[in-house]
C-alpha cells in the first residue's frame, strides 16, 4: 500500500514535469527572427514628455545620436597623439614643403586651411592630376581608416602615401629624414619626443619605397614585393629598413597629432538638437532645416550611412556613382586589400603603440569581399556645405547635384544583382525636399576659422 506521503511526492513530481513541458519560452528565446529591441514605435503612453510635434520618439533618438560631437576618441596606436609638443611640431611639418621631393609642395598645398583643408578641385593637381577627390580633414580623429578606400589603418601611417606619391609630393622617407636630421633645431624637437636619432650618414639620399599606384598608372609589380621598390631600398638590410620606418613613423605621428586637432566646431544643428530632444521647437533653427532633418533621418534614409556625431558610419558603400569621364572604373575598397596587408604603418604593425588594441584588430581582421567593388568610405558631413566638389572623384559640383543623384539616380552604375542594396533605390525627392535637405546640411557648418602659419616654416629657419 502506498502511503499518503508517497502519493504527495508523486503528485509534486507530476506537476513539476508538466510544468517543465508547458513552460513558455522566455521572451528572448526564439530560433528565428526576434528583434533585440522593442518596436521603435508607438505607444503614446511611453513617449517622452513633450516630444517635438513633428518628430517621433524614434526620430528623436536618431537626432540624439547625431549631436554633440564630443571630444575626440583616443588613439592608442600613437603615444604622442595628444602631446602638445607633437601637435605643434606636426603643425609646422604640415605646412613644410621640405616633405616633398622638389621642396615646393606641402600637405597644405592640397589641404588648404582656407578651403576647409581641401583644394576645392574635383581632382587634385599638384605635380600631376590625381584620380580621387581631396577630402577635407575635419574630424579625422574619429575615423577608423583613411583614404577613400580605407587602405591605411592609422592616421600616422596615412601621411606617407601622399608624401611619396609621384603625382602628389614625390618625396620619399629617406630624403625627408635626411632633411630633418640636417635641421638641428627640428631634429631636436623630434628627439625631445622620441629619443636620440641615429646618424643617417650611411644611407643613400633617396630610396623611394613604393611609388603608389593609381588608376592612371597601375603598378605592374605585385604590391608589397621587392619588385615594387627601388633598388636603393632593396639594397638596405632589413634592420636598416626597420630603422628608417621607425623614424618615418615619428614624422607620421606628429603630423597625426596636429591633424587630430582639426575638430569642427559647434553648429546651429548642435544648438538645436538638445532643444528638439526635449520637445522644444528650437525656434532659432530654420524651419527648412527642421524639415530637412526629418527627411535626413526619415524618407531620405541618409542617416543609415551618415550616422553618429561625425555623420559617418566609417564604413564602405557602393552607391553606384559612375566614374568620372576619362577615368576607368575605380575598384574602391575592393582594390585596397593588398595595400592594407603590405602597410608597414598599420595599427597592427611593428610601429604601432597598441598592436593588440581595437584598431589593430580591425586592421588585421578586415574583410573585403566582392560587394566592396566600387565601395568608398562614407565621408562625414560636418562642414560639408563648404567642401565641394563631392564624391570620390569629385563627380558632383554641388550638394544639389548629389541629392538629385540619390533622388533619381540618373547615370548611376547598374547594381550588381548579387549584392542588392535597397538604399540605392531612387528616393524620388521633390525639389522642395531637396532644398530642405540642403538647408539641413548647411546647418552642419561651424564658424571656425583655422589658424595656420602664413609662410612655409622652412623659410623661417
Amino acid at each position: 500500500m502506498v502511503d499518503r506521503t508517497t502519493v504527495a511526492l508523486f503528485v509534486m513530481l507530476a506537476f513539476a514535469s508538466v510544468g517543465c513541458e508547458a513552460t513558455p519560452r522566455p521572451p528572448d528565446v526564439h530560433p528565428n527572427r526576434v528583434p533585440a529591441s522593442a518596436p521603435a514605435e508607438e505607444n503614446p503612453a511611453e513617449r517622452p514628455e513633450l516630444p517635438a510635434p513633428d518628430f517621433t520618439p524614434a526620430e528623436l533618438r536618431r537626432i540624439a545620436r547625431l549631436s554633440p560631437l564630443g571630444p575626440p576618441p583616443a588613439d592608442p596606436t600613437n603615444r604622442v597623439a595628444d602631446d602638445p609638443r607633437a601637435r605643434a611640431l606636426g603643425k609646422e611639418l604640415f605646412f613644410d614643403a621640405r616633405l616633398s621631393g622638389s621642396g615646393t609642395v606641402s600637405c597644405a598645398s592640397c589641404h588648404d586651411p582656407i578651403r576647409d583643408f581641401t583644394d576645392g578641385r574635383a581632382l587634385p593637381s599638384t605635380l600631376g592630376e590625381g584620380t580621387r577627390n581631396t577630402p577635407a580633414l575635419w574630424n579625422l580623429a574619429w575615423e577608423k581608416s583613411f583614404f577613400w578606400d580605407g587602405r591605411a589603418s592609422t592616421l600616422w601611417g596615412q601621411a606617407w602615401v601622399p608624401i611619396e606619391h609621384p603625382r602628389e609630393m614625390a618625396g620619399d622617407r629617406l630624403q625627408v629624414l635626411h632633411r630633418i636630421a640636417g635641421d638641428r633645431a627640428l631634429c631636436s624637437e623630434f628627439e625631445a619626443l622620441f629619443g636620440v636619432w641615429p646618424s643617417l650618414d650611411r644611407f643613400p639620399a633617396r630610396a623611394t619605397v613604393a611609388p603608389a599606384s593609381d588608376l592612371r598608372e597601375p603598378l605592374p609589380a605585385a604590391i608589397g614585393t621587392a619588385a615594387e621598390f627601388t633598388p636603393e631600398w632593396n639594397a638596405l638590410s632589413s634592420d636598416d629598413r626597420d630603422l628608417i620606418d621607425a623614424l618615418a613613423t615619428q614624422v607620421g605621428k606628429v603630423l597625426a597629432a596636429y591633424q587630430r586637432t582639426l575638430v569642427s566646431g559647434e553648429t546651429s544643428f548642435d544648438r538645436a538638437a538638445p532643444l528638439l530632444a526635449t520637445g522644444d521647437t528650437a525656434a532659432d533653427y530654420p524651419e527648412a532645416a527642421r524639415r530637412g532633418l526629418k527627411l535626413f533621418i526619415g524618407k531620405a534614409r541618409c542617416h543609415l550611412c551618415h550616422s553618429g556625431p561625425t555623420f559617418s558610419d566609417h564604413a564602405f558603400h557602393a552607391t553606384g556613382v559612375a566614374p568620372r569621364p576619362g577615368l576607368p572604373e575605380d575598384q574602391g575598397r575592393f582594390g585596397a586589400r593588398a595595400r592594407i596587408e603590405a602597410d608597414p604603418f598599420g595599427a597592427n604593425g611593428p610601429h604601432s603603440d597598441a598592436p593588440e588594441g581595437d584598431a589593430a584588430f580591425r586592421a588585421g581582421a578586415g574583410v573585403i569581399t566582392g560587394s566592396d567593388f566600387g565601395a568608398f568610405r562614407t565621408p562625414g558631413l560636418r562642414n560639408v556645405a563648404r567642401t565641394a566638389p563631392y564624391m570620390h572623384a569629385g563627380q558632383f559640383a554641388t550638394l544639389e547635384e548629389v541629392l538629385r543623384f540619390y533622388s533619381d539616380r540618373v547615370g548611376s552604375i547598374p547594381a550588381d544583382p548579387a549584392h542588392p542594396e535597397p538604399l540605392n533605390e531612387p528616393l524620388r525627392l521633390t525639389r522642395a525636399e531637396i532644398a530642405d535637405l540642403i538647408a539641413f546640411l548647411e546647418s552642419l557648418s561651424d564658424e571656425i576659422t583655422p589658424t595656420f602659419p602664413r609662410t612655409d616654416p622652412s623659410e623661417r629657419r
Binding site: 511526492l9 513530481l13 528565446v29 526564439h30 530560433p31 526576434v34 581582421a365 542588392p420 542594396e421
Partner: protein, 148 residues
C-alpha cells in the same frame, strides 16, 4: 517514507536517459546567458551574451564589442562538445553586406567561446550567425539583433 524515497530515486534513475530531462538539463546549463536560441535543425542550444559581461541585452552601435556564448547539445550528451568548432558572423542581408571585420573566436572551455571584433556600424537589424561544426556536420544558429 523509505519506500517513497526509494521510488523517487528509481524515478530519477529511470529518467536519466530521458530526452526531455536531458534537454531540460542542457537548457539549465545555459541559465546564466540572457538569450538562448536553438540551431536550425535543433541539434544545439546556444546561449548568447551580447555584451560579454552578462548585463546588456543589446549590442552597442558602431562600437567594438565582444560576444560570449555557450553551446550545449540539445540531447544533453556533453561528450559531443569535445571537438565542436564554431564560426560567427554578423550581416545585414537586406543591404547585401556584413561587418568590415571577421570576428575572432577563442575557445574558453568545452562548448564555451568568446568572439571579439563585432562592430555594427549601421542602424537596423543584423543577422548574427553561429555555424557549429562537429565532424563533417555543420548546423547554423541565427538570431536577429539591433544595435542601440
Amino acid at each position: 517514507m523509505i519506500r517513497a524515497l526509494a521510488l523517487i530515486a528509481l524515478f530519477f534513475v529511470g529518467c536519466a536517459g530521458s530526452p526531455r530531462i536531458d534537454a531540460i538539463a542542457a537548457r539549465a546549463r545555459l541559465v546564466a546567458f540572457p538569450h538562448i536560441i536553438e540551431s536550425n535543425d535543433g541539434m544545439w542550444l546556444v546561449g548568447i551574451d551580447l555584451s560579454g559581461d552578462g548585463d546588456a541585452h543589446t549590442p552597442p552601435f558602431d562600437t567594438p564589442y565582444a560576444l560570449s556564448f555557450a553551446i550545449e547539445p540539445a540531447d544533453g550528451d556533453r561528450s559531443n562538445l569535445a571537438d565542436v568548432t564554431i564560426v560567427v558572423d554578423c550581416t545585414m542581408p537586406q543591404h547585401g553586406h556584413g561587418m568590415n571585420v571577421v570576428p575572432s573566436v577563442r575557445r574558453s572551455g568545452p562548448g564555451r567561446f568568446t568572439a571579439r571584433g563585432f562592430e555594427l556600424f549601421m542602424e537596423g537589424e543584423w543577422l548574427l550567425t553561429i555555424d557549429i561544426t562537429k565532424g563533417i556536420y555543420t548546423e547554423r544558429a541565427q538570431w536577429w539583433i539591433e544595435p542601440q
